[in-house]
């Protein structure tokens, strides 16, 4: 028997059906809902590529069972802003952070959760907030810079 669940994703209520309620949220987002901005890379909470927000907190969707998040507010990279206009996205473009880009949606989601709480993070706070992420293109220094730039934009009310 398939299980039906109602998820709240990017502000919309979505009815989904899964064979296994333990299915990680990651695969439901990607396959059932077509939200492929959330990436798979390790599947064991080691890389951050699958980062989303659940009730505003960063959550690794590869280890989050879909049944646990029914009724909670889920935000993916597609729902972070309407048109790529989040200060972090603007800063990422200005700083040209992305190389292959594969890790970046996840990185941006963690950075967004950080900035929502801390409008002026230090290097150490950024490194702590981003510690769950891996980028094998080696864009870390640009990410740090872009987060500072976005924080500055936010403080100025951009």
């Amino acid at each position: 028997m398939a299980t039906s669940l109602t998820l709240n994703v990017n502000g919309k209520s979505r009815l989904i059906s899964v064979d296994d309620p333990d299915t990680p949220l990651l695969w439901v987002l990607r396959e059932n809902l077509g939200l492929t901005g959330t990436k798979y890379s390790c599947g064991i909470a080691q890389c951050g590529a699958c980062m989303v927000h659940v009730n505003g907190e960063p959550a690794l969707s590869c280890i989050t069972q879909v049944s646990q998040v029914a009724g909670k507010k889920i935000t993916t990279i597609e729902g972070l802003s309407r048109d790529g206009g989040h200060p972090l996205q603007k800063a990422w473009i200005a700083e040209e952070v992305s190389q292959c880009g594969y890790c970046q949606p996840g990185q941006i989601m963690s950075a967004a959760a950080l900035l929502a709480k801390n409008k002026n993070p230090s290097d150490a706070e950024i490194e702590q907030a981003m510690a769950r992420h891996i980028c094998t293109c080696g864009t870390y220094n640009r990410i740090r810079k872009a987060i500072h730039a976005a924080a500055a934009m936010t403080r100025k009310g951009a």
Binding site: P24, S41, A131, T136
Partner: protein, 729 residues
């Protein structure tokens, strides 16, 4: 200039009208497979550049974009030659076509026109053709514009998307001229712009692919969706070369969502309606493997047997000058060292995957691939479908690093699609599959001997490499493996280009691989040999009691090393070589030539009492000749330093009973943000041939760091990766 394409013979340039109006310019390669299609008519022409009647410029590229910024750099080159605003150029990923063959792989046409992205070649090799296409289009547009305005052609110029009649200032837009231009004859010899005329090339230019990459819209291989598509995972024998003896699919088929279980060459594929079911199905499979002979192979034994082979009498010579034996026997001072480097995985963030639809007499493939032509070649060998009926759609690549030059993951998808009944199938590798079924950077055991003269400078250099071979595994290039076992990739950076001025040199190689697949890893042989040469030369400097920077300077005295010396000088100056540092921080220096570019780096390092190494800053100087996008160059060097440093500090694939012991990021560590050093990049645009950018930055970082560790602790790292227990005090 490449051997096949000669701009003076316009038969290589094809001009036509675009469907829906406008101008199309492309290339074809006579003699290569598929020429017939390319030549049949303008509408079938696989274009480099299209100019629509609406004035829109589309640059079509066969090059893969894996983060290295090649799409953008090539589009900048076309915009430059065309005289259009770069912002108005749209980039389109082209299909597979001989027109996109990479001149770098021209020698390999025996197996088809090779469209592949590797060897840091996009800008320096493919770029020339792209520029000629742009220049040809500009020429024809100017001709069409002069005719339309009824003015002298010599008085007309191309400017920012218009043909302008200089004396009168009258102008016509490219869009209005595109149809007429398509009827012009392509120039015999399109004239490229001079560097002094460049407006776009050489300026930091934002990348087209950044916006889709920050919104989640960029499409990678794993994001491909086709109507009716199923998802598969493949159970592969954990031992290299092992085969399925027998299996039962009963339990797997009971997993909800699993549709089929099929055997393919690489193992057993579980085909399901989603990844989770495919993975659960795979976990439920019961397979008995015939593990084969590699099951007896383990890392310690492998290195021991290489140590024995290093003492043996036979090896294939790579470089021989003078008389090393006599020079060593009569030396005032001798230095000997043994070094080992491990296997390394590629760790693309996007694990291997491909989508395929086998349709009987044709095959369609969607893949994050670096090697469209090789994929098609091997798919053709597997299925008997001719390459002309095989389509490869290239997505964005979530990292490449040489891993996606292979075709194994594409063959998995094609075979599974066929076995599952000709349905579209996406084969997804888990991270574990990706780490344990890679083609690893070769491991090697190395013996060095050097003789020093009374002045402390080396009079003899002997380097024997014993280790695995890439070409033995990469069948497409198999014919480059010499009969005596010499694999030029294994000695790459050790003997093909030898920077030091030493009169007696012998570099040789013993090919020995007990069965661990070896492959191209960002910078290939240079990655190990750059570390080895620049470590041993540091030892010599120390034995001679000389400053490592000055010692190298003196050794880089031959003309072929002049540009290497120039980047060495630049990096020493920028890093403040010899100037005081905070307590506990020490410097190391290294320089290496690879893929046409010269790169030197200085690392600032401290070592804690528990042996933990902290790399504070890396200063890099690179001379790739002239450059297209400085912003990309900087970022590629930063990324290369990260990649080389991760390998130096953590990279270690070990084998036990024929299996890889590491499985995921928890036991195959990757550098994280807090460990990333500050990086400073200085670009020198030296005279001479243009070099590559993606790879050369990888090589100097490991020796710069280990040389700094020596400066800090007096301990010489002769085995990578660097482990704290080697340095604990």
């Amino acid at each position: 200039m490449d051997a096949i394409f000669n701009p003076k013979r316009r038969t290589f340039l094809k001009v036509g009208a675009a469907t829906g109006g406008g101008l199309v310019i492309g290339f074809y390669l006579p003699g290569a497979a598929g020429v017939a299609e390319a030549a049949t008519g303008p509408t079938k022409l696989n274009a480099f550049v299209k100019i629509g009647a609406d004035g829109k410029v589309t640059f079509v590229t066969g090059t893969s974009e894996m983060g290295q910024g090649a799409h953008n750099a090539l589009a900048m080159m076309i915009a430059e030659e065309l005289e259009v605003d770069f912002k108005n150029v749209r980039i389109e990923q082209g299909g597979i076509d001989p027109a996109f063959a990479n001149p770098r792989y021209i020698g390999f046409r025996a197996v088809g026109g090779f469209q592949a992205t590797g060897g840091s070649s996009s800008v320096r090799n493919v770029g020339v053709r792209v520029r000629y296409a742009g220049a040809a289009a500009r020429f024809m547009l100017i001709s069409a514009g002069a005719e339309k305005m009824k003015e002298l052609r010599s008085e007309c110029v191309a400017e920012n998307g218009y043909v302008v009649h200089k004396p009168s200032g009258r102008k016509v837009s490219y869009g209005a001229l595109a149809n007429d231009a398509a009827r012009q004859v392509a120039p015999d010899d399109p004239v490229l712009k001079q560097p002094s005329e460049f407006k776009i090339i050489g300026k930091a230019t934002p990348r087209h692919d950044t916006p889709p990459k920050v919104t989640g819209k960029a499409l990678y291989g794993l994001d491909v969706k086709r109507p009716g598509m199923l998802i598969a995972t493949v159970a592969k024998c954990p031992v290299f070369g092992g085969k399925v003896k027998s299996f039962s699919a009963d339990r797997a088929l009971k997993v909800k969502g699993v549709k089929k279980v099929v055997q393919i060459s690489s193992g057993v594929a579980v085909v399901a309606d989603g990844f989770w079911a495919a993975k659960k199905g795979r976990d439920a499979l019961e397979i008995t493997w015939d593990e084969g002979p590699v099951a007896k192979v383990s890392s310690p034994g492998m290195y021991q047997s290489w140590a024995a082979l290093a003492k043996g009498p036979t090896a294939a010579e790579r470089l021989k000058t003078g008389d090393v034996a006599t020079a060593l026997a009569t030396a005032a001072k001798r230095v000997e060292s043994v070094y080992e480097v491990p296997f390394l995985a590629h760790v693309c963030m996007e694990p291997m995957n491909a989508t395929a639809h086998f349709k009987g007499d044709s095959v369609e493939i969607w893949a994050p691939t670096q090697a469209q032509s090789w994929n098609a070649h091997w798919v053709s060998q597997l299925t008997g479908v001719p390459t002309s009926a095989i389509t490869v759609h290239t997505t964005y690549l979530g990292g490449g690093f040489g891993r996606r030059l292979e075709s194994d993951y594409v063959l998995d998808a094609v075979e599974t699609s066929r076995a599952a009944g000709n349905v579209p199938v996406k084969v997804v590798w888990t991270r574990e599959d990706d780490l344990q079924h890679d083609f690893y950077r070769p491991a090697s055991h190395n013996v060095f001997e050097a003789a020093l003269g009374a002045d402390g400078m080396p009079t003899a250099w002997r380097h024997r490499i014993v280790g695995t071979s890439i070409l033995q595994y990469f069948k497409t290039f198999g014919h480059f493996l010499r009969k005596d076992g010499m694999d030029p990739t294994s000695a790459q950076g050790a003997g093909d280009y030898f920077p030091y001025d030493i009169p007696n040199v012998l570099v040789d190689y013993v090919n020995n691989n007990p069965g661990v697949p070896s492959g191209f890893w960002r910078s290939v042989g240079n990655t190990q040999n750059g570390f080895l040469l620049e470590s041993f030369v540091d030892e010599l400097a120390h034995a001679a009691g000389k400053d490592p920077y000055q010692y190298r300077r003196q050794l880089f005295s031959k003309p072929h090393a002049a540009r290497l010396r120039a980047v060495l000088d630049l990096v020493a100056e920028k890093a403040g070589w010899g100037k005081p540092l905070p307590a506990g921080v020490h410097r190391g220096i290294a320089a290496h030539f690879a893929y046409g570019s010269y790169c030197a780096q200085v690392a600032e390092v401290s070592v804690a009492r528990d042996g933990k190494v902290k790399v504070h800053r890396v200063v890099a100087a690179i001379d790739p000749g002239w450059i297209v996008n400085p912003a990309t160059v900087e970022r590629q060097i930063e990324g290369a330093i990260f990649y080389g440093l991760t390998a130096a500090l953590y990279g270690d694939i070990t084998i036990k009973n024929g299996r890889v012991e590491q499985s995921n990021f928890d036991n195959y560590k990757i550098l994280r943000m807090d460990e990333m050093p500050k990086v400073e990049v200085h670009i020198l645009q030296g005279k001479g041939e243009q070099g590559g950018i993606g790879e050369p930055g990888v090589n100097p970082v490991a020796p710069a760091v280990t040389n700094a560790i020596f400066a800090a602790t007096g301990k010489r790292i002769r085995k990578l990766p660097i482990k704290p227990e080697m340095l604990r005090t």
